[in-house]
Amino acid sequence: MPKPISQKKTYSIDNLPKEKFDLLDEYIGGISDKEGSLIHILHKAQELFTFLPMEVQLHIARKVDIPASKVFGVASFYSYFTSNPVGKHTISVCMGTACFVRGSNKIFDKLKELLEVESGETTKDKLFTLKDVRCVGACGLAPIIMVDDKVYGRVKLEDVEGIVKNYKDGE
């Protein structure tokens, strides 16, 4: 009997800063077609809170007057959005077709081993969050990893440790 994997639940967090909710409300207030702009609102919210805990998604649902299940459906569909807290740096490994055939899965495995996390998880020192993402649109540079907004192209397996070390040393 295979062990059940738990459905990843959305992180719940109390005492989120009120001023960030105010900023979010201000942003939502300025949009005329609120329901049609859900993705933009989620982007803004993630920019403000760094991730989308349950309280934030529920807040958006009530502000925009759409079901919470719909907000969650959209937030869980796009790999860009994360419901769990993230580390200082996010390492995204592209698993799009071009990167995959050039071995991005091996790079991903190497990172999992190095950082001791699974996809979507954050390291114990809260420094890195590891994610696998779909095509980032730079297939000519495959395989690609991104650390925050910086793109590393034509990454070789032996480069990985060095890239991570750079960020660790920067602390």
Binding site: Q7, T10, L58, F72
Partner: protein, 580 residues
Amino acid sequence: MGKINIVFNDMKLEVDEGTTILEAAKNIGVHIPTLCHLDLEGFGIVNQVASCRVCVVEVEGRETLVPSCAEKVYEGMVIHSDSIKAMSGRRMAVELLLSNHPKDCLSCAKNLECELQSLAQELGIRDIYWEGERLKYKKDTSTFSLIKDPNKCVMCRRCETMCNEVQTCNILSAVNRGFESFVGPAFNMDMADSACTFCGQCVAVCPTAALTEMDNTTQVWNELVNPKKHVVVQIAPAVRVAIGEMFGLEPGTVTTGKIVTALRKLGFDGVFDTNFGADLTIIEEATELIHRINHKGTLPMLTSCCPAWVKFFEHQFPDLLDIPSTCKSPQIMFGAIAKTYYAQKKNINPESISVVSIMPCLAKKAEAKRPELTKDEQSNVDIVITTREFGRMMKSAGIDFVNLPDGEFDKMMGESTGASIIFGTTGGVIEAAVRTAYEWLTDKELEDVNFKQLRGMEGIREASVFIGEMELKIGIAHGLGNARKLLEDIQSGKSKFHAIEIMACPGGCIGGGGQPYHHGNMEILRKRQEALYVDDENKVHRKSHENQEIIKLYKEFIGEPYGKKAHELLHTHYVARQKI
């Protein structure tokens, strides 16, 4: 409507503009298999997401196969549903669905009722070429009513259509993406923590066992073999016109007598009709309505028999809690009387009485567990099973249902009127209430008890009944989306009704989430409804207040309708809940 010429499997046809390929096929008797498609004809409910690709056909000039359920015909269209390309396309769609589907059919809750299983059988699939990875999500068993197993979800989205578009509860949504996707509530919360009403319409339309009822039959068997227990059972009106379907009888066959005999064979110590509880409900509800009208109380008064509807307004309209009647539902009223009056008369310790309900409904399971309805730690109703579970119990006991002789309910509390029978269909509760309210308000005998203007299948109905000089304005809604519209009118002060009846399921209890599966055939619901009205007409007494056993109950035990004891035993209150 314009006509369009098409060629279908080499036949030249003229069809209406706007027809889908699937509809065109149906008209000429060509069968195209479907899975995600669901058309609840007459209810305006169509699930047309074309996600399963099981119904694909070949259209000349088109490179890829097209889903016949969603594709409309156009002038000159040449369609092949019987070409090798079309057939193998459909077959591949089913094989791919099976490639990651659990293969525990033998012990699955939907064994022989599963539409995916039927498809595999229909298409003669013997080998599956692709053995895919399996999902390993946890089952959600958090509620008293239903079980959600995401691993068996085929993403047909029928449950979403029912939950969001028909019922407007908005609990279910597609979660995640690609292989990991399934249908679930917001934030992956337990269904028990969501605003789910447990109406069970998602279960009623799920083609597989991704959504099924919580099975409580084991508990019933355990009670039946416990010598210390006096086990009584009640059956709801809608059960008697549907259970026969599980044994090959025509939908709408009235099987009350056979059910009684079967229940006695199964070993129940007392066999009762929820209709007795329904007659009791009418006495209380009609009194409450008259009281509200005479004392300028809150109007409109809304019925409160349907537990899914009760939970719906608690979550969605928490500011309107004083609108519904305070009457408990018939099943709960029956439980309360069984544990008091019946216990006293029979000289049985209420603690040793176990009340089992057989209901067409999943929400009734959750209702029986509501804290305020479980008085003195002694549940008013102990176990609720659905029509389907009852059918399975009879099958496992080897009961030859079709050939059973008719039995009679217990004598005490065994009488019921025609008014209570129609509780099982939309419009029935309010018609029953009007029959009694009329006579009480006018002091005259009601000559024609049939209020045909209250009957039908339209989602929202309005009617006026003249009671002497007074015009009683009545609203009726079935389906929670329709109920929402009536409630929004109340909220905005636009409502013009005195009384409103609401039932959560399409058609009322006859279309409940615990009834034998209709597999999208709405004719079944109509036949069940018709049967209830026929059964009503065959009764000597057709007004609740003429029920002799009810009159006796008030005289010997309860006292005044809507009085002090009645309030303690038969009335309840509601709780404001979160919308999530």
